[in-house]
């Protein structure tokens, strides 16, 4: 009885993670530039991973499992923004931005300013 309910929760969570991974893949194909691909690709998968870890903890509730699951979520949660930032920063500098679709671009004016002051200092 309770095992049955647990199986259903398990499969629903697996499906959620699967949809997130599918969305990431489709996002990679459909988005126009690196920055938007970065959004669509890496972020929803964090939810997928959290859901998966919760699922494992639910199915094999042992101290080792739960601590390791927490460690994985913690690690991924801390490192994913860092790598996204590095890739995004490099992508913007490398010029792979779809500029027509930007409503506002404060970084461009900022970089321009910095270059101007640098030029005047020389």
């Amino acid at each position: 009885m309770t095992g049955d309910v647990r199986d259903w929760i398990t499969i629903v969570l697996v499906l959620v993670a699967a949809v997130m991974c599918l969305a990431a893949g489709v996002g990679l194909l459909r988005m126009p530039d690196v920055l938007t691909r970065l959004h669509a690709a890496t972020k929803p998968q964090i939810l997928g991973l959290i859901v998966m870890m919760a699922d494992i903890a639910l199915n094999t509730p042992a101290v080792v499992t739960i601590t390791l699951a927490i460690a994985i979520i913690f690690f991924q949660g801390l490192t994913a923004p860092i790598s996204a930032h590095m890739v995004g920063r490099t992508g913007y500098r490398a010029g792979s931005v779809h500029r027509q679709s930007l409503v506002r671009d404060d970084l461009a004016t900022r970089i321009e300013e910095a270059e101007r002051t640098q030029a005047s200092e020389k």
């Binding site: 893949g25 790598s83 500098r93």
Partner: protein, 90 residues
């Protein structure tokens, strides 16, 4: 039980499609950064797939593997981005 199996099959198909799309971007991606992002996606898809297998079969033997994969994903994409940024500066 059969409904359960069908749902598991659907999940497997979703995972596979996501992985294939990432693989396509990994092969064709115009810039190096696209490939970095794609390899990240592929790796997390693998992690989610391994996790799903563990959850469905009620065990936790490959959990340490996920941690190692997460570490490699991070180190890989950061070092490529860093390397590209440096080449960009000079």
């Amino acid at each position: 039980m059969t409904v359960m199996n069908v749902l598991i099959g659907v999940a497997v198909v979703f995972f596979a499609l996501g992985a294939l799309a990432a693989l396509y971007r990994l092969v064709t991606g115009p810039t190096l950064l696209d490939r970095v992002v794609a390899s990240d996606v592929l790796l997390v898809t693998v992690m989610c797939g391994l996790g799903a297998e563990m959850a469905i079969n009620h065990h936790a033997t490959t959990l340490p593997l996920l941690l190692v994969l997460a570490a490699f994903a991070f180190i890989g994409s950061v070092s490529v981005a860093k390397f590209m940024g440096r080449r960009d500066d000079t």
